[in-house]
Amino acid sequence: MSTRMPKPNSFQLLSADSRAQIDHWIAKYPPDQKQSAVMAALMITQEANGGWLTTELMDAVADYLQMSPIAVYEVATFYSMYELKPVGKHKICVCTNLSCMLRGSEELVDHLQKKLGVDFGEITPDKKFSLKSVECLGACGGAPVVQIGKNYYENLTPAKVDEILAGLE
């Protein structure tokens, strides 16, 4: 009757396949420290859900790992790789931190926003692209940097960006 625990059996929202993948991570930690698998579990759940997490899914992860939901929300909101709103098929993450900014990321951002007609945190009407600003991607040597899906693209100019986007399905 309390409001704090996830609904019992809410973990069933996770597919059998997702659960199997999460179990793989749980096995890496001592049995009483299941929640150490929370980051992997959220990633797996997010991918299975087309790239973003709903509150229900986070509750399901909480139930599965026997954590309180708020502890899962804390993780999901702390790291920028988790999405709490729908994203496009291709999630374009532009680094706007110091090195990239000095090397022209602002120009990239302007270009992308104009070209796609969306702001940070928005999706194109055809749901193909979404745009996001992120902090240092740890690749300052190749600044300015953009991450699309799992790939990094370095030393970018607006022209190069056009080329990359044209190559994406």
């Binding site: 009757m1 708020i70 929300y73 909101t77 702390f78």
Partner: protein
Amino acid sequence: MVTIEIDGKPYQAEAGAMLIQVTDANGIDIPRFCYHKKLSLAASCRMCLVEVEKAPKPMPACATPVMDGMKVWTRSVKALAAQKAVMEFLLINHPLDCPICDQGGECELQDQAVGYGKDVSRYAEGKRVVFDKNVGPLIATEMTRCIHCTRCVRFSQEITGLQELGATGRGEHTIIGTFIEKNVASELSGNVIDLCPVGALTSKPFRFAARAWELQQRETIAPHDALGSNVDVHIRRNQVLRVVPRENEAINEVWIADRDRFSYEGLTALDRLTSPMIKKDGKWQATDWEKALAYAAEGLKEVVKKQGSQAFGALASPTATLEELYLLQKVGRGLGSANLDHRLRQVDFSDQDDAPLFPYLGQPIANLETCDTVLVIGSHLRKEQPLLNHRLRKAALRGANIIVINPVDYEFNYPVAHTLISSPATFVEDLAGLAKALWENPGTLVPTEMQKLLGTVSAKDNHKAIAQALRTGKRRAVLLGQLATAHPQFAVIRALAAVMAKLSGTSLGYLGEANNTSGAWLAGMLPHRGPAGLPLQTIGLDAHSMLTQGLKGYLLLGLEPELDSWNGAAALASLKKAEFVVSFSAYRTPTIDSYAKVILPIALFAETSGTYVNVEGRWQSFTGAVTPPGEARPAWKILRVLGNLLDLAGFEYMSSEEVREELRQQVGEKRPNNRLAWKIPSSLTTLAVKGLQRITEMPIYSTDALVRRASSLQKTVDATLANGIHIHPQLASQKNLSQGNSARVRQNGATLTLPVVMDERVPQESVLIYAGQLANLELGEWYGGVEVSAA
């Protein structure tokens, strides 16, 4: 022990202690936000930076352990510069809205900004804004003011055990909240108001009511929990505006339960009575004290003269003060009646002669947390006694085995080693099985009659497992809760608990009911014992008999018997039939109007002087903080005058202290001995019940007249949960009932329509119906068979 030097002076300190503990113990000021002595270390705010010799950078005092020979400067140039810089960062995003902030004047940030900050801000940029959360009726939020010290988050994790608050997002975007807005469901939630160093979390009922510097602080004792939590009431112009905890490590540590914090709202309830009322020729009229008391005395004398003293009885709430209870029994006995009682929530009195001096916890409160094994019999402990539960929680987190036997699968906020859910009808059977399981081990002793009774009992596997657990650990206790004392076979339960305690070598204790239950026993507000436990020749009627058999005259103190007693319907019927009822009541209700002839307005908590005796037997006296409203008077003064008007001897007290001392001398050094105080039952047969069994619980915010009128508490999840008929979803679907729809409920010939509440905690053969609710009053007894069908 190590020796360290702080600001040039040597100090002795415990090895391993944090620097801030040493400075705190020695009265050296170090600013801080995240550090709190009852919470884990976060060391995140950096306000406590000090200079330490040989350390290249300033060190946080809250997370730096002392070492022998360490040299520390708390006010050096380096330390001050660090503190100033941290303060500047903290203020970057903090709004400068002190003039409209409730915390203003008692804000740690404000104080420390003045003490350690700069006088001008260099920051001209925009500040962040955070949307507020609705976290329920008790706590107001203004999250833009949050400085992310995470005290509230750690409190909810570490103290309430229900992680409800959290820090989501990161950096400047960090937000403290419950993410999705939910009512904070802890019975200790109000403590975050005290913990929050800024005005982000403040008291909702107190919001915008007063400034800290307008308030005066008075010490008193909290009016609900059986611990007698120490509190300060904050008053302005003779009105209690809020209640906060006063530290007492032996009782409430630094906390109080929400019930004790917010019940003061009931002091100013709309139905508060401010002048004496009498009913003459069928009409109610306000009158003065002289007339009202004369009328009351006359009426009582009349009943006794015409019907005999046995036709009169007095009943009191165990929330009344020791002095009031003592004087009331003195009036009752003076009138020649032994019909006196305060145990309205009990029905089995068959072993009352063998009961202990008062229902004693069996050990000091603080010792509970050092227990290794505890068996709790019949208690929704989190809601009955939130802070005793907190002690057990500490024990459980240390690794203690907590074992619970309950009719409902209540939620505990710590790991419970064994849970045995047993319906009221099988309760005795399960306890007997447990006793038997303990007895099967050779070498232990039980009285022969008890052995005979247990002879035919067989222990099941779960009994054996619990018995095994109960034998392990050094410090162990068996504790009886309110669901046990209200059980129709309480005497048998007590006997079996005592046998278990004896066989397993544990202590036996009671978890207490109201703030002054122990005091009511000591004062002799009982039909079978006088003050200080003095056994009596003539034994009067107990509360249940008085209210079901019906008397001609009643004197009620601080009661709403229809809500307070084990069978409210019968109580109300008896009162209505009586010829003359005098109600000492702070409130006037249509129900009291319907049966009383005189209503005398009494002072409540914080309005009177007196004494409460807590569950460990500690006497705590207090003085009134405010004067009662209108013509209301402290009940001890009214009883004193009434005693005189009835021509009774010994009512010449000048102060409540005199009353207390008179009783204190009689009590002397007497202490209860729980382990010897029980009676061998005549049989161990269980009760047969037809149909579904009714389980009854007195919900946390309905326990007495004051809290029933605390409007904010009445809006909490715990209060709203107490309505309707609670039924397991599976049983509900069998009966074609669904959440929110109504069910027809029949008990003892009364039929009511109540909303259905699906509740997985309730076992299948039972339904849970809460006590103290007007809506289900007519159903009567707290126990028995009920029929439920779709309405």
